[in-house]
Symmetry: none
Subunit: 237 residues, 2 copies
DNA sequence: AGTCACACGTGACGC
DNA sequence: TGCGTCACGTGTGAC
């Protein structure tokens, strides 16, 4: 497995391990230093706060462990910094996305190249493998007039323009809902287009936005759609 | 700054934005409740703690934004929970790893299997592409009025319709060449659209075709573009 | 000096 | 009601 974990831990691992050790051996007696309670049966209140502080510790530990695990699966981790770990992970995932796209087109080339000859099943396997990964973005319970998003992509063209490509099932009122959703987002839309084909809607729109907003833009649309699909979710309107 | 952040808040966005709002209006006065300082000019100490608390806020915000962005690049986000976001990201990266490994072995198989044939250069190209991560689909020698394709995607919608999405650099006559190319392909175009933004062309067209033709369609377009870029290349017609 | 990143305990909010 | 999650302010140690 991993064998090079010991060198570079001059950072928070050391610290964390020490801290974890002492919290593991923390059998729970008196919660902290001698503490008095202002009112009520002091035992109840103190145990309540003690529980809270303990669970909070566990939560922090879990989160740190997850972050640690995240770093483990991401190569080329430059800095041990928490924020950097997440940043590198994002960057890495985006790289994998691009790579996947490139490979997919390559496989298609290969496949079509041998198409006239014996169409090998290996090629089909690879294509199918790629397809199985593509799941529906939204698979929430399909109530009436919800939006079943099939694919949502956000590209940035130039410095201040985004291109959003959205595909979804065409059902009753889907088009209206879609318009409502994008209406509510208050985007700076340059131009937009919706086409309906074979039971699906294809929406392409050009939006004015900064590059940093790209991810937020995407999640914004996703959450808006999800909120529309699930009205009892806490959304303004 | 940003002005369109208020609508879509389902979960911690709401909270965060509200809190951010009120921290913006936090002008800094007395840091907390009346506090006495043991020594030194109290103004210095208070500003020091104020700085610290402010930077700590920024750090937290940055970390949350990163986490937010991380969730954006990971599909199938089940829960909004912080730990769950990281967990899903890890799982997703592992999926991609496995997928990449499988595909790589497949390509190696393919390469070693059929290398002796006339397809050798294409196979090598695919391997190189795989190793060098991402390249432009077409990176042939850029002569005047060539088409530099940035992305080409072909989807099938329904049984007999394809959606083709093509992005390329906008240079002199690119639009004309693009039209010529698609003219020459004799496709059954249902509807088509070209937009120009920030030095790029975005073409979306809907074509009538069988699903089996999908891959050929793609390679057809690619070869047509390549042929236009490099006229002495062997082209069908 | 002073900044950066962190873990901690605590009150608040929602299920 | 307790339980889980969160942001907050604070103290600490490292550079």
């Amino acid at each position: 497995m991993e064998h090079i974990e010991e060198d570079y831990n001059l950072y928070w691992e050391t610290k964390m391990f020490l801290q974890n050790e002492e919290l593991d051996s923390w059998g729970f007696d008196e919660p902290i230093s001698g503490y008095y309670d202002s009112s009520s049966p002091d035992g109840a209140a103190s145990s309540a706060t003690a529980k809270n502080i303990l669970s909070e510790r566990n939560r922090r530990k879990k989160l740190n462990d997850r972050l640690f695990a995240l770093r483990a699966v991401v190569p080329n981790i430059s800095k041990m910094d928490k924020a950097s770990i997440i940043k590198d992970a994002i960057k890495y995932i985006e790289e994998l996305h691009e790579q996947e796209r490139a490979i997919q087109s390559e496989i298609m080339e290969l496949e079509s190249g041998k198409l006239k000859k014996s169409m090998s099943d290996i090629d089909l396997d690879s294509v199918n493998l790629l397809k199985t990964k593509k799941k529906r973005i939204d698979s929430s319970g399909s109530r009436t007039s919800s939006i079943d998003a099939l694919e949502l992509r956000v590209y940035n063209v130039g410095e201040k323009t985004m291109v959003i490509s959205l595909t979804c099932d065409k059902k009753t009122d889907t088009l209206v809902r879609l318009c409502e959703v994008f209406e509510s987002l208050k985007l700076k839309i340059v131009t937009a287009n919706i086409s309906a084909l074979s039971g699906r809607l294809w929406k392409t729109l050009y939006v004015e936005a900064d590059e940093e907003e790209k991810d937020q833009l995407k999640i914004k649309i996703e959450t808006a759609i999800a909120a529309l699909n699930d009205p009892q979710s806490p959304m303004s309107f």
